[in-house]
């Protein structure tokens, strides 16, 4: 019989902090993504605007969303890592 309760959560004193940071960064990205969708449906012609460098707003915004996702992910990892290390050292929350 393997009908045991679901796996026990591993102990992670930094979890509440990481959750808050995650929600904050998610909100930032979601707003920028929402703005992208809004421009596309409200004023799609604005996406034709050629920016310095020759690429238009649509391409720059699209690439920007992809690159910004990675940047935010790295920032999140750094913040979480620092907190985890601090709590491992002090042993508290």
């Amino acid at each position: 019989m393997l009908h045991e309760p679901a796996a026990q959560a591993e102990k992670d004193p930094a979890f509440p902090y990481k959750k808050r940071i995650g929600v904050a960064l998610f909100t930032v990205y979601a707003l920028i993504y929402a703005a992208f969708i809004a421009i596309n449906v409200i004023d799609p012609k604005a996406m034709e605007t050629v920016l310095p460098g020759g690429l238009n707003l649509a391409v720059v915004y699209g690439f920007g969303l992809i690159i910004f996702a990675l940047l935010l992910a790295l920032v999140y990892n750094r913040i979480c890592g620092v907190r985890e290390k601090a709590l491992e050292t002090t042993g508290g929350a």
Binding site: A7, K11, A30, M47
Partner: protein, 645 residues
């Protein structure tokens, strides 16, 4: 005729993935080994395996094909699919790893231990996985035909058998390494393809490296007399004149051969523009451009720039250029690309598809609107928003993606592997824009099936690159299907048979049940892959995203962030999410078109259900939770916090 090199590379890749499976078979004796690779995969390997799992046939074949035919609108899929990983990283990754064991049902049920959640989450996993499996299997059939010269159904059966072997021998361990290898190869060879494209540059008369002469389409002067078109060339006679979707066409006959021409009245003098046509006779025989279809007579590949940065005429080319310069030149307002449109109609008992070229300004191509009606009615705009929401919220709710969090040893490793996945998948999605635009302007777009745009672009650089890209595309299908089958097998054996039905006696029995489930799901996938031949690959994946985002995400988010959530609320939310999303799709204009009915008669005017079904699922969980008794089991941390003064 089938070439030797593609077959050799195909056999090598398949042999390699099977060898990996047999090598790791000994590690899949326990249920932990079978369902979660023992939780010992390194985060960097898992991150690339995420990419291998996620970058399915829809991503590689579908997005490149859509960019090649609809420009920036195809790239919107890349943006939405990648953005979804933000939800996975910031909201889902670590909590799911902390709470779960083998399947996402474990995590959802961790605070409740409720049979209703187990049942509903398992059903949701099966539904989403099957919807996702169909396009992968269809994609396998599409690939095998040009690669190995085999019929569609053989490709589907072949993928099914190979994947069942991969999953049944070593479960998640072999699946992980197959996905890791496939993810690596896909990104490396996509870079190679983009580099080759940049070295070749753009041309107004692309000739596929000198192998295929550029085809110039004829324009013939004509006059109109008494409402009838009279071609200037007396050897042609007009047999029929009709207007389809505001495009006027004329059927010309010359020496018994029939051809369709587009009437161009844009200038003062009337002219007829040559098109391509595919006529399906009542007896099923097909006629291509006026002659019976054969190996030598197929629809010609299309796509070229008419004007490059203000320079028009034959032979204008850029020479080697950087990738961003390529994008800016294609999207320049002074550039123009010939895109091809399809008109479908019946002519007597014949079904006719006419394809005509339409020079389109670069700035129009490199902004949204060629496919999505972002300048249309408010409803059409809402439909677009609905799609983008489903893409954003769907990723973090796909069961075959979520189970990958259980293959790493810790929550920290889950987080890091998600970041590797974002880097790898993001890099690939940037490349899709270059590959799609490359196909659009290189004369390699197959009018009847744009899914082959990326492999055909590779073929324009030689047999080796085509063989590699095609073999990798096939491996892409293998990697994704393996992940889907293991997710479905976990839902059956772990969620339903063990945790819901209490039917599993021991660990060995559980592994056996998983393997039998993999066989069963694989067999169902084969049948569905054959039945759904010809179905649009991207459409079905979009459907799976919408169902996943509606059924799973609200319950995951509310379980994590709202302590008043109850087990009945979660079960109801999943059920409503599944029924609402599928119901809305079944009555959508897209499905009505597939049923052969008038799309405008569809009772649901939206093609993408997410904007209704996702909020409805959230609303359900809130209302049902408030109406039912709280039954959440507090964990040790919450109890400690409650006891502290």
């Amino acid at each position: 005729m089938t070439q030797v090199l593609p077959v050799v590379l195909f056999v090598l890749i398949v042999s390699f993935v099977l060898a990996i499976s047999f090598w790791f078979a000994r590690k899949a004796k326990s249920s932990s080994g079978y369902y979660a690779a023992g939780g010992r995969i390194h985060w960097s390997v898992n991150g690339i395996a995420f990419a291998g799992d996620y970058l399915s046939a829809a991503s590689f074949l579908g997005i490149c094909g859509m960019i090649a035919t609809a420009g920036y609108d195809g790239f919107l899929y890349s943006i939405g699919y990648l953005a979804g990983w933000i939800v996975a990283l910031f909201i889902v990754a670590e909590p799911l790893k902390r709470l779960g064991k083998y399947t996402f049902t474990d995590a959802l049920d961790a605070k409740f231990n409720d049979k209703g959640i187990k049942l509903m989450a398992a059903i949701s996993t099966l539904v989403v996985s099957l919807f996702y499996l169909i396009p992968q299997m269809v994609g396998a059939g599409v690939l095998v035909t040009p690669l190995l010269g085999l019929p569609h159904y053989v490709g589907v059966i072949m993928v099914g058998v190979i994947v069942i072997t991969i999953v049944a021998t070593a479960g998640m361990t072999s699946t992980t390494y197959v996905q890791f290898i496939k993810g690596t190869l896909l990104i490396v060879f996509s870079v190679v393809l983009v580099v080759a494209l940049c070295f070749r540059g753009l041309s107004t008369t692309p000739d596929q490296g000198g192998k295929v002469p550029f085809r110039k389409y004829a324009a013939m002067p004509a006059t109109e007399s008494g409402g009838k078109i009279v071609p200037a060339d007396p050897s042609f006679s007009a047999a029929e004149d009709l207007t389809v979707k505001a495009v006027r066409l004329v059927k010309l006959v010359k020496g018994g051969a029939v051809s369709w021409w587009k009437v161009d009245a844009s200038s003062s003098a009337l002219s007829l523009l040559e098109t391509q046509s595919l006529v399906t006779k009542a007896d099923g025989k097909r006629v291509v451009n006026g002659a019976p279809e054969s190996a030598a007579n197929k629809l010609a590949l299309v796509g070229n720039m008419e004007v490059i940065d203000g320079r028009a005429g034959p032979g204008v080319s850029t020479g080697p250029i950087g990738p961003f310069r390529l994008v800016s030149l294609v999207g320049d307002p002074d550039s123009s690309v010939t895109l091809w449109k399809e008109l479908k109609f019946t002519d007597g008992r014949d079904k006719v598809s006419v394809y005509y070229g339409l020079p389109t300004p670069g700035n129009r191509i490199m902004r949204p609107g060629l496919s999505f009606k972002v300048e249309g009615t408010p409803l059409e705009r809402i439909d677009f928003v609905s799609l983008m929401i489903a893409l954003f919220l769907g990723t973090a709710a796909l069961p075959h993606i979520l189970i990958r969090y259980y293959t790493v040893p810790s929550a920290k490793a889950a987080r890091k592997s998600t970041i590797v996945a974002i880097a790898a998948i993001g890099a690939f999605y940037v490349l899709t824009l270059f590959m799609g635009l490359g196909a659009m302007t290189s004369g390699v777009v197959n009018l009847a099936d744009n899914n082959m745009s990326a492999p055909l672009l590779a073929r324009s650089f030689g047999t080796f690159l085509f063989s590699m890209i095609s073999a990798i595309a096939f491996a892409t299908v293998l990697g994704t299907v393996s992940g889907l089958i293991i997710a479905a097998s976990g839902a059956v054996a772990h969620d339903l048979m063990d945790r819901y039905g209490n039917l599993i006696r021991d660990d060995r029995h559980k592994v056996l049940a998983g393997k039998i489930a993999a066989f069963a799901v694989g067999a169902v996938a084969i049948v569905l892959g054959i039945i759904f031949k010809g179905m649009n690959v991207s459409f079905l994946v979009g459907l799976a995203f919408a169902v996943a985002a509606s059924a799973n995400l609200p319950s995951i988010v509310m379980m994590l962030f709202w302590k008043r959530t109850t087990s009945k609320g979660i079960s109801a939310s999943i059920l409503v999410g599944i029924l609402a999303s599928i119901g809305l799709i079944l009555f959508s204009p897209t499905m009505f078109e597939l049923y052969g009915l008038e799309p405008a008669a569809a009772p649901i005017p939206l093609k993408n259900p997410g904007i209704i079904s996702i909020p409805l699922s959230f609303l359900t969980i809130v209302v049902v939770s408030l109406l039912t008794k709280p039954d959440r089991i507090p964990d040790a941390e919450e109890l400690a916090a409650a006891r502290s003064p």
